[in-house]
């Protein structure tokens, strides 16, 4: 039981690390927002599922937190990307 939770923790932290790496390595704002949103959302959800395998009696709280994350994280990052686009931040077009 706890082993499955550990596996979820490990995969979640790997996704969180990839999201943080993407925030540093990506070339422009839109790519950074994408990395920061998708990877971090998935990483947080996987970590919360790992917590479920440690404490199964918390399933209600964890479901609520996951729903809230799934709802607010993409909305806020879409608002950010929209604000950047409306302010005329240019798009990275160089391909190497």
């Amino acid at each position: 039981m706890q082993l499955i939770g550990d596996i979820f923790f490990l995969s979640g932290t790997i996704f969180l690390f990839l999201g943080a790496l993407g925030l540093i390595r990506m070339p422009d704002v839109y790519n950074r927002i994408q990395a920061g949103t998708k990877a971090v959302t998935l990483g947080s959800i996987l970590t919360l599922m790992g917590i479920f395998f440690y404490f199964p009696q918390w399933w209600g709280h964890l479901c609520l937190i996951i729903l809230f994350l799934l709802f607010t994280n993409p909305v806020s990052s879409s608002a950010l990307a929209r604000a950047f686009y409306r302010n005329g931040i240019s798009v990275w077009t160089k391909t190497k």
Binding site: F71, S78, R82
Partner: protein
Amino acid sequence: MQRWTTILFLTGLSIVLFAIITPLVLGQSPMLVGKLINASAVNDTGAANLVTAVVLAYRGLDTLGELAILFTAATAIGIILGTTDKTQTTSSPTAGFIVATAAKVLFPLLLVFALYIILHGHLTPGGGFQGGAVLAAAFFLLTLADSGNNIKHKVTQVIEALAGTAFIVLGLVSFALQGVFLQPWLDKGELGSLFSAGSLPLLYLALGLKVGAELANLLSSLANVEK
């Protein structure tokens, strides 16, 4: 030059923070007042959350002072910015379909959360200040999603005045009944249930409504861009 003085200040602050934290043993309070309050607060007030007991029962006058400070700040901002109740059609763009829909879905949830924080202030962490701030954020979310959707300043001012009056009236009733201003005066009830701790939840409700109305008023008058 200014940057270097700021950095000097921050260095001093970090040294002070590290010096405070390093010898600290977590979970053991070094103060004696805490032990006294821990021993007697439940019997005195009936609140399960001892922070509420301190904020509203033992230090109620300080809370009244904080309310006065908030009121002064809101008044000053009202004087500077003016209250334009006409909601002149602002030129700022709307936030788009996604944010507008999310605001519509999130607004009732935020209201429920704010009222939960306010009404359970004597049971769980939270209370009037936190719940009032969440309330103001909930109303500002609607303004953020659609800039024409501004709140009515008259309504918030009436709510703010009534809530502030209710706080003082609750204190005055305690003065008439017991001879002490702002002492808990209703039945204490059963520890841990929703209707317990006497007049503390009523005080927190008044406080939360006042803080929420003030902050919502401030935010919406700031968001009225007059250009």
